[in-house]
Amino acid sequence: MRSADAELIARCRHGDLSAFEELYRQHASRLHALACRMAPTRADAEDLLQEIFLLAHRKLGTFKGESALSTWLYRLGMNVCLDFVRSRQGRSGRLTDSLDDEEPGAPAMPQTPPLDAVSRIDLERAIAELPPGSRAAFLLHDVEGFEHHEIAAILGVSAGTSKSQVHKARRKIRSLLGRPAPRVSGRP
């Protein structure tokens, strides 16, 4: 554990609210971004963020420091977000089911020119259409910059699952951004 984190956590455990506020200010923007991209509305995202940090405050005593504080917070945060999204969807989608019913995206036709500069607004929209599991993996890997073994720890899956979720998310986003729809397999 970083010594600055250890010191901050120790102060938080002694009931120092200003220490917890410092912890909040260090991590709230990233977790807010995550919640905004997982939740359907901004109001939901704010509720989730509040829940995440309230839970963090209550559970800080159980944080042993085996992982970085940020990884611990992301794990807690992503669990809160996924629980919310899945309860809203009314289906107990497991991380591994998402997108699995779809054909793997076939490569684009050779003569297709590369995608024009992808605008952030279009990317946000495409991300919003991903199923929760692969959206979570994509956000952690491609937006937040975690490696697959870290994502495995955050999401409680294998590194292989993380890789395949990110792979599927990227192909799906690419097709949403205007690539030809995946071809049915078995074509010449």
Binding site: E21, A33, C36, P40, P107, I121, E124, D142, G178
Partner: protein, 250 residues
């Protein structure tokens, strides 16, 4: 399995830079012969760059205010309210509000300037929280329709919030209320300017983004005003001070 299928997983690792030298050489040999996979690589690189550039907007101050209240409530009502500390903070509110007004002005001015400078760019975009829209190619009609929907949504929200804020304004210090009103005027001006820009360029993405930005800023400010009124009514000066402090930082 076709050659392309054989490389489909390796291409992700290639783009991520996590392949060992041998794997890398194998992918590069395939890319030299395969335009399809070269395009895929370019697309994925583009995607990664944009994904890493997505921003992380700071949450509005009311989230911390509500959180701090909840944490204090968690600790039980054993402790008496800290009235003395809150009284001391009172004078610093106005400083906070003046700073908040200045920050809001800078943010809005920047977005209007951006709009004026690059009226034809379509790739410059402002982040929106998880949008529910589709990614079908935008036509002028679909853009205008979507925007109208968003406007209607914001106007409805703003109407409701304004009524609540107006009804509760008596609870606020007159100087605080005046500073908030001044902020609202600045935001309304930005809304009017964005609308005017959209009239001349109905499909401009920056213009659309600026208008939605201004709406979001207004909703946020009204929500913070209401949260402030609530804290004042509850006599929770510490909670109110937190919101003002947050307004200063956001």
């Amino acid at each position: 399995m076709s050659a392309c299928e054989q490389y489909t997983d390796a291409i992700d690792e290639y783009v991520d830079g996590t392949l060992d030298p041998e794997g890398r050489r194998a992918v590069e040999a395939h890319l030299a012969d395969c335009a399809t996979c070269r395009t895929l690589v370019q697309d994925l690189e583009q995607l990664r760059r944009t994904a890493r550039a997505l921003d992380a907007p700071a949450p509005p101050p009311r989230v911390w205010a509500a959180l701090a209240n909840q944490i204090e409530a968690d600790r039980g009502a054993a402790r008496p309210p800290r009235i003395r500390r809150a009284d001391r903070m009172r004078s610093s509110w106005l400083i906070g509000l003046a700073a908040a007004a200045a920050v809001a002005l800078v943010v809005i001015t920047a977005s209007v300037v951006r709009l004026m400078e690059r009226p034809h760019t379509t790739t410059e975009a402002v982040t929106t929280p998880a949008s529910t829209g589709t990614t079908a190619a935008a036509t002028p009609e679909s853009v205008a329709g979507e925007l109208q929907q968003a406007e209607a949504h914001y106007e409805k929200a703003i109407d409701g919030l304004q009524q609540i804020a107006k009804a509760g304004q008596g609870s606020l210090d007159p100087k605080v209320a005046a500073a908030l009103q001044q902020n609202l005027t600045v935001i309304d001006q930005a809304i009017a300017e964005s609308r005017a820009a959209l009239k001349t360029q109905p499909t401009s993405e920056p213009a659309r983004a600026s208008l939605l930005d201004a709406f979001r800023t207004k909703v946020g400010l009204l929500e913070d005003t209401i949260a402030l009124i609530n804290e004042m009514r509850k006599g929770n000066s510490a909670g109110a001070a937190r919101i003002v402090h947050g307004l200063k930082e956001s």
